[in-house]
């Protein structure tokens, strides 16, 4: 049963990832990315990361992708039909990487250790969200505050960049 779910999610994720790159129209690319986000969230649920699945749907599908679609429709671009001339470089970089990875994994599957028994974390008894919250606000408290600073800087930067005339009467 777990294999069935993993096969379904992995198949759809791989297919929609290829579609994101292959489709010409950016709106279709963004919509297939939406399908991919939902299936990644499903994969997180099978990995017992329910909180991250919810956050994935809310933040990625709800906020980030809406922002993308907003900009695509705001700019109203014509369809760019051709791919970039760098596809040879892309093939040259990626096909050896993929082959190397397959070879490494084919040799390493038999030797991979089993899962560690579940006593190393502690405090996982109250569900995934509680455990993540306790970890986030105890061990990772300082990175959490730094993340808030990153969000503030990004917000200010986005406003400054997209503002039409910063500090005066710039033309256009």
């Amino acid at each position: 049963m777990a294999q069935l779910f993993f096969g379904y999610f992995a198949g759809v994720i791989a297919l929609t990832a290829v579609l994101v790159v292959a489709l010409k129209n950016p709106i279709y690319s963004a919509l297939s990315l939406l399908v991919m986000f939902f299936h990644v969230a499903g994969l997180y649920v099978t990995l017992h990361a329910e909180f991250l699945a919810a956050v994935q749907i809310i933040v990625y599908a709800g906020a980030i992708l809406v922002l993308y679609l907003f900009v695509v429709m705001l700019l109203n671009v014509k369809r760019d039909d051709r791919y970039h001339g760098q596809w040879r470089i892309a093939g040259f970089v990626c096909i050896p990487l993929l082959l190397e990875f397959m070879i490494l994994l084919a040799g390493g599957i038999a030797a991979s250790p089993g899962p560690v028994p579940a006593e190393s974390t502690g405090g996982v008894t109250g569900g995934n969200t509680l455990a993540i919250g306790e970890t986030l606000f105890s061990t990772y408290l300082f990175p959490f505050e730094v993340a808030s600073l990153i969000l503030l800087v990004a917000m200010i930067g986005a406003i400054i960049l997209a503002k039409r005339d910063v500090g005066g009467d710039a033309p256009q």
Partner: protein, 100 residues
């Protein structure tokens, strides 16, 4: 029980798809979407290893990666809007001001 190497293969496929997308697409929005693909591939890896090692640090790190992705999208789309305002195109081959 799915072996963790299957998740690695899936993540590698998605990541390489993102790399190919960054290299071959001309539309700058599609390039940013490919960057999102790569970020999601790393997130899948983090969650798979978090389950494999029974360590919540991986999931917390995905949380931070999500934050950085949101910031990157906001700034990236603002840059795209500014570029489109100055050049009226989002084809990356038109942006060659710093090229020599």
């Amino acid at each position: 029980m799915i072996p963790v190497s299957y998740y690695l293969i899936l993540s590698a496929i998605v990541f390489l798809t993102g790399v190919v997308g960054v290299l071959i697409r001309r539309n700058i929005i599609a390039i940013l979407l490919s960057v999102e693909l790569m970020l999601n591939a790393t997130n899948i890896n983090f969650v798979a290893f978090s389950e494999h090692l029974q360590d919540l640090g991986g999931q917390v790190f995905v949380f931070f990666a999500l934050t950085v992705a949101a910031a990157e999208v906001a700034v990236g789309l603002a840059i795209i809007i500014a570029l489109h305002r100055s050049k009226s195109t989002i084809n990356v081959e038109e942006f060659n001001l710093l090229k020599w």
